[in-house]
């Protein structure tokens, strides 16, 4: 029902029962928030969003209060501003002071609010001592001293990812966010997706940095550093520099990385398309009556971790193919050895990725030297930005440099792997190239594109009809899986990605602005893909003659991982 209310003396039309915050937002009135998380139930924990409602003695949190008829609201009265200021001062009293050396830098929401509310000094003395940093995970670091108990990470981990690695422990002034038995993330059900980093307003959560190691590598004259870039990084990094995602910025990025000292720079797209070709082979040979459906295809290390620790019964359904980055790490290492005459251990593959979970794998590589298929280091999109800054590269002055390397031009649709649904689209193109009379319902209708949780398509050939689906976020996966099982629906292949909408929303992406930029990132990936639209996807990709890739090389082996669930 449309009603009229008054905000700051101005009449506003709105819906009865809408959240006050939503109405304010729709009318261009900015109220700060900390714990509020778009798309989730309001929690009302931080109170920074309070407003004054005429006739009430207390201030109300606008994120969790509903509009009522003839309400009169003050959003920036002296009382409200003072309350917000005090709330922030109290939060800061328990917050670590190490802001100068904090990795969150200018993306800290707390810092931004302190500026906005004109909080310029520590009003209340520190009450809490330094808390122990959780360093146990190879991907995610948690520093509880910086935590303001907003609960965003807890909610994302449980509600979006179905993982529930984090929760509030203890109570009162001792409350903290922690893991089961306080043993740290690596011991918990955490899948290293990094979605908690994305929503944390402070620097309490971050990735385990490889910047120092990569810095040392770049200075080491005996080594050949090779950069391998994930499509999601191509589609996102430009945001830091005010560039639109797309081929132009991608080539500038390649140029920048060469100036920093990477001898060779490649994308991972070729590997994605190559593996999609193998997947196509599996599907074409697949007997449609097999009742082991759905097969689960995932290039995502978080999904594999989730299944191997929380759903080991599903391990046998995972398509045993190595992810693109491993195929590429192997090939690029071989290729570079052939080209430079260096030994394998002197070639270092640095994987630039939006994925925090990839750190688990590269860290394993750091320990088991020369494990061939794994990159040596991985840098998140955020770290790549810092690397470019560290080396003083003025991106604006760089010209695009198009890549002439074999792996840069061979693949036609490999970039699509960065978005949820992309692998399926790649796959259907390859099936079409191999079986021209195959009938696809997906591609033209755009069924596999856009911001949707579940994307389904069908593919008919050789007298069989396959249903292919794509899904992102673990909660959606669990729900969808339950649904198709209970309804006995036959879905032949399920592509799963842990980060909602795919790697473009990965845990290593810029911490702010994902909501705003997600569509642009998606567009960037698709534009890149369109560049090749005149060129048909091939039915298979040929390897350069001096490289070998056996069947076993492409296969992955999965095993259960024991944790305390």
């Amino acid at each position: 029902m449309m009603i009229e209310i008054e905000v700051n003396g101005r009449k506003i039309k709105t819906q009865k029962g809408e959240l006050i915050l939503d109405t304010l937002k729709a009318n261009g009135i900015h109220v700060p928030t900390l714990c509020n998380l778009e798309g989730f139930k309001p929690s009302g924990a931080c109170r920074i969003c309070v407003v004054e409602v005429e006739g009430r003695n207390d201030l109300v949190p606008s994120c969790s209060f509903f509009i009522e008829e003839s309400m009169k609201i003050q959003t920036h009265s002296a009382r409200v501003i003072q309350a917000r200021k005090t709330i922030l001062e109290l939060l800061l009293s328990n917050h670590d002071d190490a802001c100068l050396s904090c990795d969150r830098g200018r993306w800290c929401k707390l810092h931004e609010l302190a500026f906005e509310l004109n909080v310029t000094e520590r009003k209340f003395g520190r009450t809490a001592g330094r808390k122990k940093i959780d360093n146990t995970s190879q991907a995610i670091i948690r520093d509880p001293s910086k935590c303001i108990l907003c609960s965003r990470c807890v909610r994302v981990c449980e509600e979006l990812q179905h993982v529930a690695a984090l929760d509030f422990l203890k109570r009162g002034s001792r409350t903290e966010v922690g893991t089961v038995l306080d043993k740290g993330l690596n011991y918990s059900s955490c899948i290293s997706c990094g979605q908690c980093i994305q929503v944390c307003p402070t620097g309490a959560l971050k990735e385990k940095s490889h910047l120092d190691q990569v810095g040392a590598l770049l200075q080491n004259k005996d080594k050949v550093p090779v950069a391998m870039i994930d499509p999601a990084v191509f589609a996102t990094l430009g945001e830091f520099f005010g560039y639109k995602a797309g081929p132009e910025f991608s080539s500038i990025l390649i140029n920048a990385l060469k100036r920093i000292g990477f001898q060779k720079v490649y994308g991972t797209g070729w590997g994605a398309e190559y593996q999609a070709g193998r997947l196509a082979g599996i599907l074409i040979d697949k007997n449609p009556d097999e009742n082991d459906t759905p097969l689960i295809f995932s290039e995502c290390p978080s999904v594999v971790r989730y299944i191997s620790q929380s759903r080991p019964a599903l391990l046998s359904r995972l398509v045993p193919l190595k992810p693109a980055n491993q195929i590429m790490a192997h090939l690029l290492r071989e290729l570079t050895c052939n080209q430079t005459g260096k030994s394998k251990s002197d070639v270092s593959i640095v994987y630039l990725t939006s994925c925090t979970a990839s750190k688990n794998e590269t860290t394993a590589a750091m320990r088991i030297k020369g494990s061939g298929f794994l990159p040596d280091f991985s840098l998140t999109t955020r770290e790549v930005y810092r690397l470019i800054r560290l080396y003083g590269i003025d991106v604006e002055s760089l010209n695009p440099e198009f890549q002439e390397d074999f792996f840069g031009v061979g693949a036609k649709s490999g970039q699509l792997g960065a978005i949820s649904g992309g692998n399926i689209e790649m796959l259907t193109r390859i099936i079409q190239a191999r079986i021209p009379e195959a009938n696809l319902s997906g591609e033209k209708a755009g069924k596999l594109r856009g911001i949707k949780d579940v994307k389904e398509t069908t593919c008919e050939f050789n007298g069989k009809k396959l249903t292919l689906a794509s899904i992102s976020s673990i909660t959606q996966f669990e729900n969808y899986y339950k649904e198709i099982r209970s309804k006995h629906r036959k879905v032949d292949l399920l592509e799963v990605m842990a980060c909602q909408h795919g790697c473009i929303n990965g845990g290593g992406q810029p911490c702010r602005g994902a909501e705003r930029n997600l569509r642009n990132r998606m567009k960037g990936v698709l534009e890149w893909d369109d560049r090749f639209s005149g060129i048909m996807t091939k039915d298979h990709l040929d390897l350069p003659s001096d490289l070998i890739l056996n069947d076993e090389d492409c296969q992955a082996v999965f095993s259960p991982r024991q944790i305390t669930k």
């Binding site: 993982v163 929760d167 203890k170 109570r171 009162g172 002034s173 922690g178 089961v180 038995l181």
Partner: protein, 152 residues
């Protein structure tokens, strides 16, 4: 899962989270603390994430994860008690038992812990020994209490 865990858990219906507290209490009564592996066992049995079990268990002063002394002293650190100088009780107790919070005496008789509000602020300062409350503590009464346990 050990048979002891199974026997204990089987007293309660599976998958019913409302039984979490009684289950935790049974474990605590049996061992004097909650054995770590019990957390995973309870989580599996009640079908709730393990961290939630830990979250609930750490919320209450009642539950512990390590064996304390035969007499486990919990001194209230809540605002009410602080106002009524629980600080003095704490330091006096430390002096009497010669241990700091978190520690246990060499003979295994006493352990000491500071806890958030025990919920009876009107009786401040308050402490509890093995879950039993002792109100309106003074240094004199404290000494009597410790002696009483020592001589048991």
């Amino acid at each position: 899962m050990s048979t002891e865990f199974v026997d204990l858990l089987k007293k309660f219906p599976a998958g019913r989270r409302e039984n979490l507290i009684p289950i935790l209490q049974e474990f605590q009564d049996l061992h004097g603390f909650i054995p770590e592996p019990a957390v995973a066992a309870i989580a599996e049995y009640l079908e709730i994430p393990a961290v939630k079990i830990y979250s609930v268990a750490t919320f209450y002063n009642e539950f512990r994860f390590n064996a304390g002394g035969r007499y486990h002293f919990q001194v209230c650190q809540g605002i009410g008690c602080q106002v009524d100088s629980s600080e003095r009780i704490r330091s006096e107790l430390g002096r009497l038992l010669e241990i700091e919070p978190g520690e246990i005496t060499g003979d295994g008789w006493f352990s000491l812990e500071w806890v958030p509000c025990l919920g009876v602020c009107q009786e401040a300062p308050v402490l509890s020994v093995n879950g039993e409350l002792y109100a309106k503590m003074t240094p004199v009464r404290l000494k009597e209490l410790v002696d009483k346990f020592r001589n048991r």
